[in-house]
Point group: C2
Chain length 685, copies 2
């Protein structure tokens, strides 16, 4: 018999955001450059070491509770702070009392777990860092609910994996794990005493290049206490070269512990084109490797959390794992703490992507509580951004700001139009969340600012002759070069009228005279924008060419940058390093998003997929099928040139399709039963 008065179960609680911020601090120094630390080059914020939890209860009988804290703790009641207790088992007095628990931990996150018949720690407890403000406690009920494992002990999962090939070399071994992977190398059946040098490579060339490979380990002979040794730190690699100092060192076998975040593979895709299916699978694998404590940029380098990169990962996630925990962790970690004195990751545009990440999070998940919890930090970041506008009301890089936009030959001095488009979207996000929290004072301010800025963007940057937005204005003088960046964002955010959309499509996006994009990072938006204007067939060909091009070169995960015109070693070089390029970069996985949103065609119309549209497109495929998570449910789609079958288990979906040149819509029931419509699409050849 369950006691109806009792909450479901206890879980660990902490100051909201602090576990995430502490985790982020820890992971941000795991990048190493040939064995030497390379910490993230932005301010790393920290958890509060001293916090106090509060919970007001009413008990009919005295109740024994068990108290576990990660840190030193003291309990007191009803503000009588001179009478303090710190026993693990404690009898709570009956009646109505305010229970207070101070917890201190300067090394790990102070966290609390209390369990009795009725009294159980959960997110309804309040917590303060003694700054006179109280918040709902942070928690992760599903995962961090074991009193013997405090939040600071949380680790990703591991599973042993074996290499596909071990090659004996003159002075060691070259090991091939068959594809890009991540985790702890394991040496088994060690005999002989020797120091070891270990060289890792995402490519065989890199593992083979002892002088230049990015990751290496150096082990002293006395490292090996047992006959099996697991390296203490994770590395990203496909190949490993192991070189003992002494020839009598022998190994029975080599393996690894693959480390990963357990996720549900909720998005799926298959089509008539095997190359596209391979691209989907490799994208998903690339994305999963980078989906960890947070959304990383790349697993070899930088192993950091970058806002612009994460913004794309959020979107890919909605079409694959729909894992909200990692998304929330990432948003929290990126934002860090106040005061804001520099841009996120030091990059102006990266502050702005964070707002768009909040916008999308709300639209895709409907989780108002989380975005509301971020509102104060949204306001202070926006205050910082608005404080850095110039006299024209536009943002530009000042002092040491890095205005990134893309790795490309572009001039980002002065007022960059892309930045203003992103700021406009950020202001819309502020207005949206101001509405959710009931901030009736700020909401119209943000709305007006967004409206004014949008008008100003069109007024200043729209070039009638060239039919698109120009790149920037510097010291009052327009840089009349049209680039794809501002145009594709303006298009996606709905800032263009129908005529402008047509113009941008023809004169900018499909215009070979306009500077091409060579990072998967910006190809993400480029191809999304082209899908928005119905260029699915073009996008399909681009995907097959571009991502297929990496597969042709043997890629087992997608890269940070790919220029089909490069050859040989050029593909590994970046940042002046022979193997500087990351060969497993989250932003390389964008086909997940492109296929899910534009080929399977699923997108939310109202927050949390309460209503949504399904508008599948074949491009030039013969058939496709797959599933997309829609909040707590799924949509399954099966389409060929004759018909479309759809079923769903959540929300009010509408299937949108064309037949005989006309548009039709059909409601999708949410009980999981299939609907089927006949389309008779002609395959263009």
């Amino acid at each position: 018999m369950k006691n109806v008065l009792a909450k479901e179960s206890a879980c660990w609680i902490w100051y909201p955001g602090d576990w995430e911020i502490w985790q982020h601090e820890q992971i941000s120094i795991r990048r190493k450059m040939r064995g030497v630390i390379f910490p993230a080059f932005w301010r790393l914020d920290r958890h509060y070491s001293s916090v106090v939890f509060s919970y007001t209860y009413e008990l009919e009988q005295d109740e024994e509770v068990t108290i576990t804290a990660d840190g030193h703790f003291s309990v007191y009641f009803d503000g009588r702070d001179n009478e303090r207790y710190n026993q693990t088992k404690m009898m709570l007095p009956r009646g109505k009392h305010e229970l207070m628990v101070a917890v201190y931990n300067d090394i790990k996150v102070p966290a609390l777990f209390i369990e009795g018949a009725h009294i159980k720690t959960n997110e309804s407890w309040k917590v303060s860092c003694y700054d006179k403000q109280w918040h709902c406690a942070g928690s992760w009920e599903e995962m961090l609910n074991d009193p013997t494992v405090p939040p600071s002990e949380y680790r990703l999962a591991t599973i042993p994996k074996l290499p596909v090939n071990i090659e004996k070399k003159e002075d060691g071994w070259m090991v091939d794990f068959g594809r890009e992977t991540f985790g702890y190398l394991q040496l088994n059946g060690i005999s002989g005493r020797s120091g070891l040098r270990i060289y890792y490579g995402e490519s065989r060339e890199e593992a083979d290049d002892r002088e230049h490979c990015v990751q290496l380990d150096r082990l002293e002979a006395d490292s090996f206490q047992a006959d099996t040794f697991t390296l203490p730190e994770t590395r990203a690699f496909r190949y490993v070269q192991i070189v003992p100092d002494s020839a009598d060192f022998q190994l029975e076998s080599i393996s690894m512990l693959y480390e990963y975040l357990p996720v549900d593979y909720r998005g799926s895709f298959q089509s008539s084109n095997q190359r596209l299916n391979d691209i989907w699978e490799t994208s998903l694998y690339t994305f999963h490797l980078n989906t960890r404590e947070f959304f990383f940029d790349g697993i070899k380098r930088d192993r950091w959390v970058w806002s612009g990169d994460a913004y794309q990962s959020f979107l890919m996630n909605y079409y694959s794992f729909f894992n909200l925990d990692v998304a929330k962790r990432t948003l929290i970690a990126l934002r860090g703490k106040d005061p804001v004195v520099a841009h996120m990751n030091t990059i102006l545009d990266y502050s702005l992507y964070w707002f768009s990440g909040i916008y999308d999070y709300y639209i895709y998940t409907g989780d108002a509580a989380f975005v509301q919890s971020q509102y104060e930090k949204m306001v202070s970041l926006m205050d910082f951004c608005l404080g850095r506008r110039n006299g024209e009301g536009m943002m530009e890089g000042i002092e040491e700001d890095w205005v990134f936009v893309d790795w490309a030959d572009i001039d980002n001095r002065g007022e960059v139009s892309t930045v203003q488009v992103l700021l406009c979207r950020s202001l819309e996000t502020m207005a949206l969340v101001a509405e959710l929290v009931g901030d009736t004072e700020r909401k119209p301010v943000y709305q007006d600012l967004a409206k004014e800025l949008r008008a100003k963007i069109m007024d200043i940057f729209w070039d009638h002759e060239q039919g698109g937005l120009v790149h920037s204005r510097f010291q009052g003088i327009l840089n009349s070069k049209v680039t794809k960046y501002p145009n594709m964002f303006a298009l996606m955010y709905g800032y263009l009228d129908q005529e402008q959309v047509e113009s941008v499509k023809r004169k900018v996006m499909l215009n070979p005279e306009v500077q091409g994009i060579k990072t998967p990072y910006m190809r993400f938006y480029e191809l999304a924008a082209l899908c928005e204007v119905g260029e699915h067939q073009y996008v399909l060909e681009e995907m097959l060419d571009y991502w297929g091009g990496m597969l042709d070169l043997g890629a087992t995960s997608f890269w940070e940058e790919f220029d089909p015109k490069q050859t040989g070693h050029e593909h590994y070089e970046m940042y002046g390093m022979p193997y500087g390029k990351s060969l497993c970069h989250a932003w390389g996985a964008s086909p997940i998003y492109l296929i899910g949103k534009y080929f399977l065609g699923v997108k939310p119309l109202s927050p949390g997929y309460e209503t949504y549209m399904v508008e599948p497109k074949l491009g030039r495929l013969e058939w496709l099928k797959g599933s997309v998570p829609v909040g707590p449910g799924e949509v399954e789609i099966n389409m060929d040139t004759e018909k479309i079958c759809v079923r769903a288990t959540h929300g009010k979906g509408v299937l949108k399709y064309k037949k005989d040149g006309k548009s039709f819509e059909a409601s999708i029931p949410c009980d999981g039963s299939w609907i089927e419509v006949y389309t008779s699409i002609e395959l263009k050849q």
Copy 2:
């Protein structure tokens, strides 16, 4: 031969303020209530874990340096951050280079020590927490200059002390150390196996009261690995009761390690009145016990850094140790980091005392560099304060603000006049430091605000009939009760004209109808104000009565509160606890300040004692003599009813004295030679 190109010597460097802030975090949780932690109840700020140091050098030859870091480090040159090094010995390339060193330490303060023939870490190095801002590195050249002892290993000094009496009791021992002390209890020549209970007392009664003493230790039998055991944590006590669980536990001796901050005893005082001399000595001992990593409020309780308490310690320090390091550490620790979201120590008036502490620091030391380094944090704290003014431009407690003023029966709701006086002084401090840093924009703003507020205080709170400032105004209605608080601050800060001064003296300060003050905390200002208006004889009598009253009760250090009307156990009670009162409280030591400033009569007229006044007063003493530090030098005074002798070793001092009812001045040479003036003062009996 000293190489003239080489800097004097290397020292440890860190992010400015972070070592102090880390120390403050550590000490703020050392208070225990009967063995249970009682952390400070305000936000504890933290050090940055990830920082980067920068130094641009020019070397004619390659130079080998030794690199020691407290934390993980990596070295790179000229922004080439992909080429990193972490060897302890390293050859720096000749030529002009920017040397960068990243240091990470999440547990202790990241710190760096580099030493070569020419290249040495010192405060001229720059450091950043990667927020795009660079600061001069923090350091403590005189003390933290040993590469084998990182700043986080800094400890106060200790010296063994023996008890004056050990009494065998039925089930243990009662140990008397003769006077109030602080440190680690030591048990020597342990035999027999037993757990121990240890009860500490500032009074014998407290150590004897196992149920209610504030401090205790509980040791398990297996704690004692050797035959001598030093308790791991410091306690404040005079008496210790040691009770073994088992009767066969024996000790050869009991001792303690007295822990203290090494300071110079620069201020001295002796007079014809032995009771006053005892008061001076006990004050000095009380003050030294509370002068530690920072200026503490009390050594038993709270062992915390409180701004209002520290403000008085700063002033006592200028007349005793003149230890600028502990003053700077305290100012830094109190201020912590941004953002400011609550008042310092949660108390409105305590935010304001911090500004006055800066003011006095500059006046007494002339150390412009330090106050300049605090300017940014002064601005953000003042922004917070100004943001909390009401529509009348005055500060009042809002939301959860604690408006303290004093432990007394006073109503601090609404606009408290004392608070406005303190705010006015704070604004004057802002204007002073704005001038020092050349902030010509903000300086006149602060000046005008101060001027307006001063006029408003007089306009609203001055009561012509009662002849003083009334206590407060709440919801538009004056609380016409006159209290000493606003009047004594207004008097000391020079906000009253001569007529008002006379009125305040007669109708408020010396008026027995006006509510008396019973904390040494506010007696500090009360007696200082009375000295300002020439009531030295009255003040002398008060000192002899009040502080002498504690000595009569056997005090070996001065108390947090003393009410001569109380008897017996009442003297130990406070905060609802039988032994809640601190019997060694820094604010109990104010005779140091009163005697130094008003009897020895030394006060700076311009920053750092470049010019100063010496105006010794006997009160009704037959003679007095003593010394006061004046920056790098000293003033020595020797006075009796016939003559005054003065000599000094710094600055331009002026001796001010009266003879035959007329005022005279004499210049004091700074070469240490005596000057002598004859006064023929009549002793009033």
